[in-house]
């Protein structure tokens, strides 16, 4: 088995120590940085996402895999920057104002990072202004919003409205997710998509950026 395949599998097992060791080995062995990233780390995380989506594995396994991915990325990032390899897209993500539930949002952030996106996680209780200010400053491709409460869902509409007001809705796509949401709701408030789970969020962002 090649080292890249081994790296992908160590990540799927959630073995952060092994993932770091193999990333280091691959770098020292002169393997192409982009190959280590795409075929090792991202491929491993993508397999984890698929298995999570089909309920073969659960949140704990994803959290461990994310930690292994981060261990590899810590070593790879300086090289990506030095070699000028761009990330495939930038996503600003957060739980909307008034809502403190962040497990689902964290999971989406993990899977987006795992797919190779640059993710700016604003945490929870994020105001519409903060979503838009950050997205504009960072020139984000996508804003991702999460809400778990029926009472905080209307904040999502305020974000879409503010994006329209600032004339960035369209260039910056807006996706929404969370237990009480639906595609009907996304359509009604003018969001670009409703994503049922983290894996569909990844697919959706890829589609928007022409990478699906």
């Amino acid at each position: 088995m090649g080292i890249i395949q081994e790296l992908s599998e160590s990540l799927q097992r959630g073995d952060a120590g092994k993932a770091a060791e193999l990333t280091r080995k691959a770098i020292d062995g002169g393997l192409d940085t982009k190959t280590i990233l795409d075929d090792g780390l991202i491929a491993g995380m993508s397999a984890v996402g698929e298995r999570f989506k089909s309920h073969e594995i659960f949140l704990p396994d994803v959290l461990l895999a994310a930690r292994a991915m981060a261990a590899g990325m810590d070593l790879l990032k300086p090289l990506l920057i030095r070699e000028g390899i761009p990330t495939i897209g930038k996503v600003v993500i957060g739980t909307v104002q008034g809502d403190l539930h962040d497990i689902g949002k964290n999971l989406v952030a993990i899977l987006l990072k795992g797919a190779g996106f640059d993710v700016i996680d604003l945490g929870n209780d994020v105001s519409p202004q903060r979503f838009l200010d950050t997205a504009q400053k960072e020139n984000a491709d996508v804003i991702g919003m999460s809400a778990l409460l029926t009472t905080t869902m209307p904040v999502m509409k305020a974000v879409v409205d503010l994006a329209k007001e600032r004339g960035v809705h369209g260039s910056t796509r807006i996706i929404v997710g969370g237990a009480p949401l639906s595609s009907d709701y996304a359509r009604e408030i003018g969001a670009d998509a409703y994503c049922y789970d983290g894996v569909s969020a990844v697919e959706c962002v890829k589609k928007f950026l022409g990478r699906a």
């Binding site: 594995i57 949140l59 396994d61 959290l63 461990l64 008034g98 029926t150 009604e188």
Partner: protein
């Protein structure tokens, strides 16, 4: 009023109350505010809610302490007042219901993920629950309900926190499951059989499920629990999954729907019925009517309960 464990041993379904959060939002709680802060600042609202569930026919009235563990309160900078938040909640419900209903101390998740998946140690989470439980028990709850758990290890820590303080306080323990093609699992991967075994092993008196599902899924969940336990089972359903109406999310299951479909639960042997998110005193009143119309022995001998 007879001790809750004796009530459990008698035949007949026991009716618990419905949502508190849903009613607090209707009474001015703003999204993002700490619901438990109301116990300190607007105790009269909680007494009114407790009274309305009592009037609806509930025999178990929960305290507004779902997020009352020290770790959860810390998110609002209120962990220093953990004892006060919990004690006041119990005192308020007791004032409202006297000995006409059982006062149940509610305890939800810590909001943290246990090691090795997250950063919270078992000791940290355990101590946090213990502080809450000590305050609830100290103020005289009749029972405790550990609820909406998704990590079995965390649920077990909460039940054990009660047991470390008291062997005599009855504990209900419920987890929240998602339907998957392979059956029901919590987001952390616990299935119903594991939940039943783990919660019973920790010392719970009553086990079951709340939240996350409408009444139809809850009937399937209840059936599976009953296959895997000899303990009494508790089921607290949401009023469905929110749907949009005129641009606003509403819970779709009416009191009539929940009572009509919920009839299957006592028939299969569920001991305690109640409501979770989106349910109101009207839902509980409808379930009261449904339960009272059940043929004996499901019909609880209410006359034996001091009114």
């Amino acid at each position: 009023m007879q001790p809750f464990r004796e009530r459990l041993a008698r035949p007949g379904v026991i009716l618990a109350d419905g949502a508190i959060g849903t009613l607090l939002f209707q009474r001015g709680l703003k999204a993002g505010e700490c619901p438990e802060r109301m116990n300190l600042e607007r105790a009269e609202v909680l007494e009114e809610i407790a009274g309305s569930y009592l009037d609806a026919g509930a025999e178990i009235i929960q305290t507004n302490t779902f997020g009352g563990s020290a770790l959860k309160l810390a998110a609002y900078g209120l962990d220093g007042r953990t004892e006060e938040v919990n004690a006041r909640a119990v005192a308020g419900v007791r004032r409202a219901v006297g000995d006409r209903a059982y006062v149940c101390g509610s305890c939800g998740p810590s909001g943290r993920i246990l090691e090795p998946y997250g950063d919270a140690s078992a000791d940290l989470v355990s101590d946090s629950f213990r502080r809450q439980m000590k305050a609830l028990i100290g103020e005289g709850v009749d029972l405790i309900c550990v609820e909406t758990m998704t990590d079995l290890r965390e649920a077990v820590l909460a039940v054990r926190a009660v047991r470390s303080l008291s062997v005599s306080i009855p504990v209900c323990a419920t987890m929240t499951f998602d339907p998957t093609p392979r059956g029901f699992f919590t987001i952390m991967g616990t299935n119903i059989e594991q939940a039943a075994r783990g919660l019973a092993g920790a010392g719970a008196d009553v086990i079951g499920s709340n939240c996350g599902n409408g009444i139809e899924n809850m009937i399937s969940i209840a059936r599976e629990f009953l296959q895997h336990t000899t303990l009494p089972v508790i089921i607290q359903s949401n009023a469905g999954i929110p749907k949009l109406k005129d641009g606003l999310p509403v819970f779709p299951e009416s009191p009539e729907i929940m009572a009509e479909k919920g009839r299957a639960l006592p028939a299969m042997g569920v001991k305690i019925l109640g409501g979770c998110c989106g349910t109101t005193p009207a839902h509980i009143a409808a379930m009261r009517g449904m339960i009272d119309a059940l043929p004996p022995p499901e019909r609880p001998p209410r006359a034996a309960t001091p009114a």
